[in-house]
Structure formats: structure tokens, C-alpha cells
Subunit: 308 residues, 2 copies
């Protein structure tokens, strides 16, 4: 079925194992996904832009402390926060991205400013933070990002000398959103705290246009979540778009081929969310689960965590 507008969101591929998930915890995740979905959906319902919708969703997910983005981000090897984010407009192919920022409350807001207010696409580190200051984007102390769970994970990762994922049982900590608005415009946004105990300066696919984030009104909007290095090498988001544009594949077929065939062969675990110009939505993942939600037009919202 196609609809005039729609939205899909994710809070990362790979999830807490069912055996370790409690009802109370599952409710917290579900509520957070529903709240974020609803924030974006309200904007689309009111005739707002897909860009505004995906930004609002990602802000909401960044503010939720159990997802690895914004508040609740994981710690790198040095015990610091280094966050990445990107946003892209399918109409103009305009894009903004930032990497390795440590004091920006909502990294996706800064990515949007890079797109709207700078002549650049990609800003990193202290340079990105300087731009944030000039733009009046909200900065916070490191304590803002602190959560006890992440601190324990980091301590454990340090002890094991391992770069670890979001949960100890394999979770790729990323949040993202894709949307189609009533004006026919697509947009995508992604935000992440990266990997626990990651090397200082490591950047994954999230802020890389074409890899973790992509939108083109000719095809689709995509936000990825997974083992970033593989998504970078496979240029995942752009590959889905090219399979649609050049090979004529449907959104679902293109997503399945990339996530469940090409990425699997390369060894890359994860998933993505996608929406096309007709409002079709695909939420493929090759991991145990993916925190995800979607809503097509005025249909009811659907929120899921595991495969079912």
C-alpha cells in the first residue's frame, strides 16, 4: 500500500537478548520509540517537512538515556563521549554531518545547522564544536551524557581490552529516522555515540553521507545501524538507492539484497530503515533484533524490538 506520507525510526540493530529483557525495560524502550515516532508523525500530519520530522524524532531518541546517542552515549577508550550525526534532504541532496563532538546536547541539531548554515557538509571535532558555539546550539557538560550503565560497560570493556557494542550481547547503538512528507520530499537522519571503548577518533558510518545516511527524492531515504566499518566499505545507504534507480528494484528487494545478502557475505551485522517516494517502508536487519517503529499516513503506529 502506498500513502501520501510516512515515517520510520530505529534505536539500533541488535537488542538485549530476550532472556535478559524484563517487561519493565521493554516498556521503557517501547514508550521511547512511540514518543519519538509520534513527535515526527505530528509534524508530517500538520504538513511539515520530512527534514523537520526526522530531526524531531532523532532529538527525541537522543534525549532518551537508554539509546546510544546524545544522552546515554557510550564512552570511548579514554572515557570520553564522541558523538556523530548526519541529516540529508532528498529534494536538494543537501546534507550536513558532524563527527566526534563531545559537548553538543543534540548532535542531529548541529548536523542540520551544518547543512543549513555552513558551506560545508562534514565538520569534525573541535571545529564542529566551534561552529556549534557560533550557531548558538545547546552545549552541555560531560556529566549530562553520563549514565551508570554506560560507565559500567566502559569499565568492563577496558578490563577485557575490547571495543564493545552497545549492549554486552551485541547491540549497535545508533538512532535514526526517515520520512516522506505530503510535499513528496524525503529526508533521513542518523545519530550515534559509537562503540564502547572505541579508539579515540574512530568514526563509523552514521555521519557519512551514502554509508549510514542518504536521501534522494528519486528513490528513497535511508538510515543505517550496524557494525559501521562494514557499512562504510559497502556504502550501504547509497547502494540501496542505486539498486532502485539503476536496476529498477523495489525498496523491499533492494533493502533485502543489501542487508541480507551483500552485507552478510561481507560479514557486516546490522540493519536499516527505509522509505520510498510512494511511502513504502522497509525495516530489514540481519541481527537478532532492531528497535524500530513506523507509521504510514494515518494507519496505526507499529513498534517492534525482536523478529517476529
Amino acid at each position: 500500500m502506498t500513502t501520501s506520507f510516512g515515517i520510520a525510526i530505529h534505536g539500533g540493530a541488535g537488542t538485549i537478548l530476550r532472556s535478559a529483557m524484563t517487561d519493565a525495560l521493554q516498556s521503557q524502550y517501547t514508550n521511547a520509540l512511540e514518543a519519538a515516532l509520534s513527535a515526527g508523525h505530528a509534524i508530517l500530519m500538520a504538513g511539515g517537512s520530512s527534514l523537520d520530522a526526522v530531526e524531531a524524532v532523532v532529538v527525541s531518541l537522543e534525549d532518551f538515556p537508554l539509546f546510544n546517542a546524545g544522552k546515554g552515549s557510550v564512552l570511548n577508550h579514554e572515557g570520553k563521549y564522541e558523538m556523530d550525526a548526519a541529516i540529508m534532504c532528498g529534494k536538494s541532496l543537501a546534507a550536513g554531518a558532524i563527527g566526534a563532538v563531545s559537548s553538543v546536547k543534540n548532535p542531529v541539531v548541529l548536523a542540520r545547522r551544518v547543512m543549513d548554515k555552513s558551506e560545508h557538509v562534514l565538520l569534525f571535532g573541535a571545529g564542529a564544536e566551534q561552529f556549534a558555539t557560533e550557531q548558538g546550539v545547546t552545549l552541555v557538560d560531560q556529566e549530562y551524557f553520563y549514565t551508570e550503565g554506560r560507565f559500567s560497560q566502559w569499565q568492563e570493556a577496558l578490563k577485557l581490552h575490547k571495543v564493545m557494542l552497545d549492549h554486552s550481547d551485541k547491540k549497535f547503538g545508533t538512532v535514526g529516522a526517515v520520512a516522506l512528507d505530503i510535499h513528496g520530499n524525503l529526508a533521513a537522519a542518523t545519530s550515534t555515540g559509537g562503540m564502547t571503548n572505541k579508539r579515540y577518533g574512530r568514526v563509523g558510518d552514521s555521519p557519512v553521507i551514502g554509508a549510514g545516511t542518504y536521501a534522494d527524492n528519486k528513490t528513497c531515504a535511508i538510515s543505517c545501524t550496524g557494525h559501521g566499518e562494514y557499512f562504510l566499505r559497502a556504502v550501504v545507504a547509497h547502494d540501496v538507492s542505486c539498486l532502485m534507480e539503476y536496476k529498477g528494484l523495489s525498496l523491499q528487494d533492494a533493502c533485502d539484497l543489501v542487508v541480507n545478502d551483500k552485507l552478510v557475505k561481507l560479514g557486516g551485522e546490522g540493519g536499516l530503515i527505509a522509505i520510498d517516494t510512494l511511502g513504502n517502508i522497509a525495516l530489514p536487519f540481519n541481527s537478532e533484533g532492531m528497535y524500530r517503529g513506523s507509521r504510514s499516513g494515518i494507519d496505526p503506529a507499529v513498534v517492534r524490538i525482536y523478529k517476529d
Copy 2:
């Protein structure tokens, strides 16, 4: 014609205007391109790998002070050097890239180490330099990169409050190489000092896999040079590869479509070098010129600067 091996190199799209070019200067550029080409070609002739060949070419171009990469890099707004580089293997899709390093003599060597010796693809800034130290990659003082010409350009750019290109008359400072070896493997590498007076932390397309650098044994190897922001948004290198793989276009047709049609419509000036699995070479650019050279098998080397 197809050959069993081949190599193509560039020293940036856009060149000094013919009116400002002297015979002596032109000889210097031509000699530098010939020397770099020859370094890569010798490796291929001896049965070496395309990865070793592109790395050797880029090292040679980085060491030449008139190209904007390694020694001779431009200065950013703060009067510092911030260099980016990437390398990719078409056989395994392994890739390594580094951004915003300021003390690494040959950034492409560090990119190769990221690919070969780390579990990551993309490392930035101080984290990348720390990895360089661990790997014993040659570090140098800032004075090593200093050239009088770049210093004057920076002073001029500061005065004009402008982000400037390599030459005052529009030159995109990047160097790169692509190669096919006798084992049938493709590789690509790119290195740059970025844009004069660029914002601290700005990153262009060069170190972004899929945008400025890409290689896949199924299709081609690509290294780009141009206004990086447009190349990032258009995911240029991967787009050429997808047009070949999914739409069946020849290397030349795919390159022409991306460089002379899609990029032009988006407003993106520049060019790229490309080689496919049969040894076909394409060197398209939509700018005034592109410092470039190529050699197919044992055919004579060809080195050019302007359109002719």
C-alpha cells in the same frame, strides 16, 4: 583497447590558467607527474599489487611541494595543516582513511596502516595521529609542510575572508591514483590538504569511501578531485561503480554521466580518474584542466594538464 595492467594518476582538477603558466612551471608539474606515474608503473611491471602501486604514486605526489597534499598542503583558517587521505582494495573492499592529521609526513601511508593494521576504517584528528605513533609512521614538524606559496595564499584568503581553492584561479588540490595489477586487482588512493582558509575540522570527499575514493573488483577504481562538498552529496565514486554494475554502462559512459552531467547540474566542479577490470582508463573533468597521467601496460606514459 584493454591491457593486463594499468595506472592513472591526478594532481588535482582545475589548474593554473594557461596565461599564468610558465614553461618552467609546466615542466615541474609534468616531471612530478611522470615521476609518480613511473613509481607506480614499475611496481605493476614487476608483478606487484595495485595497492602498493597507488600508495607509491600518492607518496610521490605528496612529497612534491606544488601539489596540495603532504608537503605543499594549504593552510586552514587557523594557519594549520589538516590533511586527509584514503585507500581502498577492490578485491576485499577493505579500506582505510584518515582525516585532519597535521603531523603525518605521508597521510596515504597512515591510511594504508588503518586498512591493514586496525579494526577501523576511518580515524580522525589526534586519534589518527596517536595510531600513527603506535604504528611507527613517520611524523614531522609543521615546518616540513611549509611552502611560501601556500603561506601567501592563506594570507590573501584571510584578508578576503574567503575559503579558497588551491590556486587563486580555481584549483582543487588533491592527488590520487588508481591501478589494475596483473593479478586482476583494482585499488584507489587519494590524499589532500583540503581548501585554503577552510574551517577548522572541515572534511571533504577525499577520505570518504564511496565519495572521493572507491575500488571494487566487480567494476572499477576511482579517485576524485573537486569541490568536495558536491562530491560528498553525490557519492561520486560509488555512483560511477553502480552505474557500471547495475546499469551496464561502460567506464567511460558512467564517468561522463557523473562528471559532465550529474555533477554539473548539482554545481560541482572537478574531475576523477578511473580504471576498470579490463584496464580501460577514463580521466573526465568538468573544470579548466586536471593534472593527470596514465599508462596502459607497456604503452608509453601520457601526461596532460589542460584540455586539448
